[in-house]
């Protein structure tokens, strides 16, 4: 027969292996594989997977973006395009506690400026920055739906309303305490 036997089936989509994969990337790869297992190996899984990486690692690094892209069959540019579109995916300055102060009209009228000033003073960083110890990052956010109880802010997923300078101190102390307890729990 004038036919050649096609070589063993090779997956056209199987990712290249990184020549040298450092330990962190290797573990990230395993984690992503696991997440894709849960959310499915398709495009719809992209955002849930990215959200999960975000919440675990504070930000999605270049390896993760490319690896997720490859696994889900989209280009790396596309993953970057998606991440940069969404406020809660794009920030790359997340600390352990991400503080997002609402800047939209009702909170603005409830004197968000005072709270902003207080936060900056207490944390020693400006908006868009993270404290040197990596504990807190400070960001603006658009309306968080607490317009009747402004000024309002989010700390990670938790919402705080009627925020006053006094309350800020409590919030920050609470965060530190939570962190210490978690650390103890781990060790």
């Amino acid at each position: 027969m004038f036919t050649h036997s096609p070589k063993q089936q090779r997956s056209a989509s199987s990712p290249d292996t990184f020549e040298v994969l450092d330990e962190a990337s290797a573990s990230l790869r395993d984690e992503i594989d696991e997440l894709i297992e849960i959310h499915g190996e398709n495009r719809n899984a992209l955002i849930p997977v990215l959200q999960e990486i975000r919440s675990r690692h504070a930000f999605v690094n270049s390896f993760a973006m490319q690896y997720v892209a490859d696994r889900l069959g989209v280009s790396a540019a596309e993953v970057y395009g998606v991440i940069s579109f969404y406020s809660f995916l794009k920030e790359s300055n997340y600390g352990k506690f991400a503080i997002s102060l609402c800047r939209t009209i009702s909170c603005d009228m409830a004197d968000k400026a005072r709270i902003a000033k207080c936060l900056q003073e207490k944390l020693g960083v400006k908006f868009g920055e993270t404290t040197p110890d990596g504990m807190f990052s400070l960001n603006w956010t658009n309306c968080i739906g607490m317009c009747d109880q402004g000024p309002a802010l989010l700390v990670n997923e938790q919402v705080f309303t009627h925020v006053t300078p006094k309350k800020i101190k409590e919030i920050l102390d609470g965060c530190r305490k939570t962190y210490q307890e978690n650390e103890k729990g781990v060790s």
Binding site: L50, I105, K112, N142
Partner: protein, 435 residues
């Protein structure tokens, strides 16, 4: 306390509506919704029953019911309250919708800002599954299975637009699609899809519990029934209120304690700014429509500050796919800043108003079409708020300066990233955070 007056939902027994609906044929369920006159509560006001009818008619195996819980309109928080207080009604509404159009899966697109509610909602869903009101053979109905899962948003106002929401669910940038085709024909994963607001779905449950005649009996001819309003700003009693459609703005202000307002933004950042001489207007689709946001501005508020805040919001939240919205909002924002400095010439103001009118007709989606509303309202109703400066001889020079790319740069700079915004706000820009 957020809830300020008697809300119908509080009196609706769980699953009463759903059980009533499941006793009917899907067709007559749709007819009842059409009959009730319920219109979408997200803001656009498309008749809910008609939407269902289209989706029921459309061919497609995997129809989906989506609950739009991406409540992003500034000044709107009634969906948050509904989800927190009466989640069952929302899930019931979704189940009724699924039964009506023949869908087997449902998705709640919950905005990232409401992530703290997720656990509670999941628990509620689980409870419903155990009670047999969700999952396979709902309420013992052999041929009706439907389940709901929660998908978290990631922070994008435009995803409240139904086709952008679907794009987002499909793992893409939340950019509104071209219509037609509409989601009811080609939606999530190219299958017929209905996207309904949280409140609309809750009203569906109430309508089946109390009857469509009850709902139609309230409100106005074109806007039957009741509406939840989120009231914030300079009022004594901010919070969520329920009013029948057609209630006058002054009645609402009286209830909330904001009678002496200078202006009221009805419909949030994308709504209109109503001046006191029009407080007698009625809140309904025939007169002044709203998705539920009422923001009250007291006597001492500078409306240019308000317009600036809104325009900053749109310049940031525009998905950016169409030119006129992406750049138009930046130009309006620049214009407002010029006005605040008394440096916007009449000619330039006229150009901007004309641009705003173009944005209203040429933008691809509702975001762009409504984004110049507040700007145009300020110019129309509150022209006195715009500082007048001597602009006689060096008018042209100033305009040139105003138009120069430097200014564009400064605007762009201000928006580069949050980090830069902060830098600018605290440093070079006079307004900003610290003011």
């Amino acid at each position: 306390m957020t809830i300020r007056n008697t809300i119908t939902f509080a009196s609706i027994p769980t699953d009463k509506g759903l059980k009533a609906a499941l006793e009917k044929e899907p067709k007559s369920v749709i007819n009842d919704v059409i009959e009730s006159g319920l219109r979408g509560c997200g803001g656009a006001g498309f008749p809910t029953g008609i939407k269902w009818k289209f989706a029921a008619k459309a061919e497609g195996a995997q129809k989906t019911v989506i609950c739009n819980a991406d409540e992003g309109e500034p000044g709107t928080f009634k969906d948050r309250v509904i989800l927190a207080e009466w989640p069952d009604l929302v899930f019931e509404g979704m189940t009724i919708a699924a039964y009506a159009i023949g869908a087997s899966s449902g998705i709640v697109y919950l905005r990232a800002e409401y992530a703290y509610m997720r656990k509670m909602l999941e628990e509620c869903l689980e409870k419903r599954r155990q009670a047999g009101m969700l999952g396979a053979k709902i309420a013992g109905k052999e041929d009706f299975s439907f389940d709901i899962h929660i998908h978290m948003g990631s922070g994008a106002y435009v995803c409240g637009e139904e086709s952008a929401l679907i794009e987002s669910l499909e793992g893409k940038r939340g950019e509104p699609r071209n219509r037609p085709p509409f989601p009811v024909e080609i939606g999530y994963e190219n299958a017929p899809t209905i996207v309904n607001n949280v409140e609309s779905l809750a009203w569906v449950s109430a309508i089946f519990a109390n009857g469509s005649k009850w709902f139609k009996g309230a409100g106005t001819k074109e806007s039957p029934g009741y509406k939840l309003m989120s009231i914030s700003g300079d009022v004594k009693l901010p919070g969520v209120y329920e009013f029948p459609f057609g209630t006058t703005l002054s009645t609402i202000l009286e209830a909330a304690g904001g009678e002496d307002a200078k202006a009221v933004a009805v419909g949030g950042a994308s709504g209109t700014l109503v001046p006191p001489n029009n407080f007698a207007c009625k809140i309904c689709f025939e007169d002044v429509p709203t998705g539920g946001s009422i923001i009250v501005f007291g006597k001492n508020r500078n409306l240019l500050d308000v317009a600036e805040n809104f325009q900053e919001f749109f310049a940031d939240e525009s998905c950016g796919q169409c030119t006129i919205c992406r750049l138009g909002n930046v130009k309006l924002l620049e214009g407002i800043r010029l006005m605040k400095q008394g440096q916007c010439t009449d000619q330039h103001l006229e150009d901007l108003c004309s641009l705003g009118a173009s944005m209203q007709i040429a933008s691809k989606c509702g975001l762009g079409q409504t984004s110049p509303n507040v700007f145009l309202s300020v110019v129309k109703h509150f022209r006195d708020e715009i500082p007048r400066h001597p602009v006689a001889e060096n008018d042209d020079q100033k305009t040139e300066k105003a138009k120069s790319s430097n200014l564009f740069q400064s605007v762009v700079q201000l928006f580069r990233t949050d980090a830069d915004t902060a830098k600018n706000n605290s440093g070079t820009n006079k307004k900003g955070v610290s003011a």
